[in-house]
């Protein structure tokens, strides 16, 4: 069962954009900023209020990698899998994260702390391999360094 969500939170967004043609993606982006993801109910609501068929709303939302349909953990780990990171060992970093947290790409830990998401390129190629945790970028990673960072992030929550 999906958690109850407050649809009125996006009334203002819909009201502002409903008459601007071509603004569906912007509305979805703003709605995701409100909820942290795009709840099923919100997508249906956007479809009704903006008078766009649900198939189109869902079609657009699932097309773009920015949109999520599940809540994410406290820490969203975006692991860069760009070319430079690949060459410099991003796979080893992914393995270290998977080993430490027991999650694969797209999954969230049982305690709701970490979500791992592989991304195409963060554009910090000279610091490769790189990951971004929430807003912070960590560069020149090694498996050991990655494990330390994860432990530190866990520690922050306990404090």
């Amino acid at each position: 069962m999906e958690q109850k969500i407050d649809l009125s939170l996006i009334d203002g967004i819909i009201g502002h954009y409903r008459d601007i043609p071509g603004s569906l993606i912007t509305v979805l982006q703003k709605a995701q900023a409100v909820y942290g993801y795009l709840p099923h109910g919100a997508l249906t609501y956007i479809s009704q209020r903006m008078n766009i068929p649900p198939a189109k709303v869902f079609g657009v939302a699932t097309f773009y990698t920015q949109f999520r349909f599940e809540p994410v953990g406290r820490y969203l780990i975006m692991l860069c899998k760009g070319t430079a990171c690949h060459v410099n060992g991003a796979e080893m970093i992914e393995k270290a994260i998977a080993g430490e947290l027991g999650i694969a790409d797209g999954e969230t830990t049982g305690d709701g702390l970490f979500t791992l998401k592989n991304v195409a390129c963060l554009g910090c190629c000279s610091l490769s391999p790189v990951m971004m945790v929430n807003e912070e970028t960590y560069g020149s990673l090694t498996p050991e360094k990655t494990r330390k960072i994860l432990a530190e992030l866990r520690g922050r929550i306990r404090e």
Binding site: P21, G22, S23, L24, I25, T26, L28, Q29, G59, V60, F63, Y64, T65, Q66, F67, K81, G82, T83, A84, H86, V87, N88, M92, K95, G99, V119, A120, C121, L122, G123, C124, C125, S126, L127, S128, V130, E136, T137, Y138, G139, T142, P143, E144
Partner: protein, 584 residues
């Protein structure tokens, strides 16, 4: 007045530049005649964070890899002017050559001016070109200047910019659009991000000149959502330009008016293709349209639209101010001017490089980039991202121009140059790119949607040691079919990484398929870990770290890895201080 500038592009900030700035701010708050400001990315990414100190007569001391702990020394240097305080931080002559060997046009202000202050851009001659154009040149004259410069679209295809401008100019319609493609999706390319973060007004000026030339009243920048800092700085720059009257109604008192806005992309590589980008701008799934009609005839909302990439626009103001001939004087007969490259991978000095066309790959990788940063040999350079290919070391004398690079099977692309040494497996590299394109294929054309998936399956099989006789032929056949029958550039070029690695590194494919061996030791399924009993000291470090309990051994006796239990994670190799773990 002593000026201190802290480089704060995305990579500078992630290397700690914001903290350095804050510490400098605190330390120098009371210092008289010192100004502290932010600048963008100078492109020496491997040396970040970078602090530039300009003395009263404008002389520059560049301090590199600065940390907060260095701030007291810098403050002391600023107070006393005694270079001894910062001797260890000062950039080496060798590293400084990275910049002195470049020719900067698109990047001319990057890392020099404050990207958040329009005053800095104007002081550097900014918006002069726009004024000249609007007050003294007809749109046709502007297009002529661009034509004489030979400027080609820097997004990848290398199509002449003037031709698209001219076509949009000639389309008769009240409403036209000028669009900037800043959906920099090639993994390994970050020059567009750097230009927007470091010199947003240069992009705005180039776009306004383009809008004037084609007759557009609205300019739109489509930026990747993954570039939050670029979006923030561009937004700020647009607001500043608008309040200076450079955007909006009757610019410079003329009858030319142009509005300006940003549209954040939502993450889809295919939106780098111009018709897919237009679909996305209209709020649709980013699926390419059939051409013709070309965007110049029927683009955004079916109106004439011109789309160029960031780097293309970043050259425009310079060309107007210096003349098309000055730009055309650089380069080769069919590739004019300069090109920016994002140099990354196993390179010693990685960052942004802008050089005249016609230099060799060797010039960029060795003279500017300093060669490999590992002790292994240079193997190849990947150019053009998922649409490009791997050029082997034996062709490093290839001149950088559109035709010659295409002849190798790679492409100029947007300018990503990922350098690889002998530790990179070329089959796995091809698999990596196909994994990318298979995910990013929009799904419109069956050969691309399903063909890339099948390519990926075959490549994965080969990397896992399950390659079969005939796989190479199958790959080649599939590649050619996908190339021939896809609608847009994504599908047409998706097989390039496979084709170029097959062309230059066929023996690696054969070793995987016939001998079940990965020559570089990168493909996990094909390697085994063992411990050399002669080198092992029996320290038990690996025994403790092995997550699979696959290592047996007493203290001070050589350890043994149980191949049955080993999951090939490589942690034993990581922790062994004696190099006793052997990977084969």
């Amino acid at each position: 007045m002593i000026q201190i500038k802290v480089g704060q592009g995305s990579c500078g900030i992630s290397a700690g530049a914001a903290n350095v700035y804050a510490a400098l701010h605190t330390a120098l708050m009371e210092a008289p005649d010192v100004s502290l400001s932010v600048t963008g990315c100078v492109g020496m990414c491997w040396l970040e964070p970078i602090v530039d100190v300009y003395n009263a007569s404008g002389g520059l001391t560049r301090l590199v890899r600065v940390t907060e702990n260095d701030v007291p020394k810098i403050a002391e240097y600023v107070r006393s002017g005694e270079p001894e305080h910062v001797r260890k931080l000062t950039v080496s002559d060798e590293d400084a050559e990275f910049l002195s060997k470049q020719t900067r046009i698109a990047l001319r202000n990057c890392g020099v001016i404050d990207p958040e202050d329009i005053g800095g851009y104007i002081a550097a001659g900014g918006y002069e070109a726009l004024r000249t154009v609007i007050l003294h040149k007809s749109p046709e004259e502007v297009i002529d200047v661009i034509k004489s410069s030979g400027l080609a679209g820097r997004g990848g295809a290398g199509f002449p910019a003037w031709f698209k401008w001219d076509a949009a100019r000639k389309s008769r319609d009240e409403i036209k659009y000028l669009i900037c493609n800043a959906d920099e999706g090639d993994p390994g390319a970050f020059m567009d991000r750097a230009v927007i973060e470091s010199d947003p007004h240069n992009l705005i000026e180039g776009m306004l000149i383009g809008a004037y030339a084609i007759g557009a009243k609205e300019a739109i920048v489509y930026v990747r959502a993954e570039y939050p800092l670029a979006i923030a700085r561009l937004e700020r720059a647009i607001n500043q330009a608008a309040s200076e009257g450079l955007i909006g109604e009757n610019i410079f008192g003329s009858d030319f008016s142009c509005s300006f806005r940003i549209k954040a992309g939502a993450g889809a590589f295919v939106c780098g293709e111009e018709t897919a980008l237009i679909e996305s701008l209209e709020g649709q799934r980013g699926m390419p349209r059939l051409k013709p009609p070309f965007p110049a005839q029927s683009g955004y909302w079916r109106k004439p639209s011109n789309i160029n990439n960031v780097e293309t626009f970043a050259n425009v103001a310079w060309i107007i101010r210096n003349g098309g001939e000055a730009f055309a004087a650089m380069g080769t007969p069919d590739s004019k001017g300069t090109k920016v490259f994002a140099l990354t991978g196993k390179i010693k000095r990685g960052g942004l490089v802008e050089i005249p066309m016609g230099k060799t790959l060797h010039d960029v990788i060795f003279d500017i980039g300093g060669g490999m940063r590992t002790d292994k040999k240079f193997k190849c350079v990947q150019m053009g991202g998922p649409s490009g290919g791997c050029i082997p070391a034996s062709l490093s004398d290839t001149l950088i121009d559109y035709k010659r690079l295409s002849a190798t099977g790679a492409i100029m692309g947007s300018g990503g140059m990922v350098v690889m040494d002998e530790s990179t497996c070329m089959v796995n590299m091809a698999r990596f790119f196909l994994d990318f394109t298979a995910k990013e294929s929009c799904g419109k054309c069956v050969p691309c949607r399903i063909g890339t998936k099948r390519l990926l399956e075959v490549l994965t099989r080969i990397c896992n040691g399950e390659g079969k006789d005939g796989d190479i032929g199958l790959l080649e056949e599939l590649c050619n079919q996908i190339k021939e029958s896809s609608l847009c550039g994504l599908g047409q070029t998706a097989p390039n990484p496979v084709l170029t690695t097959l062309k230059y590194f066929r023996h690696e494919y054969e070793a995987h398929i016939k001998e079940k061996r990965c020559p570089t030791g990168e493909c996990q399924a094909l390697i085994t870990y063992s411990i050399d009993p002669g080198t092992c000291t029996g320290c038990t470090a690996c025994v403790k770290k092995c997550p699979a309990n696959a290592i047996n051994g007493e203290r001070k006796a050589a350890h043994v890895i149980d191949a049955e239990l080993c999951i090939k994670c490589g942690r034993c190799e990581e922790v062994c201080r004696f190099g006793a773990v052997v990977k084969r």
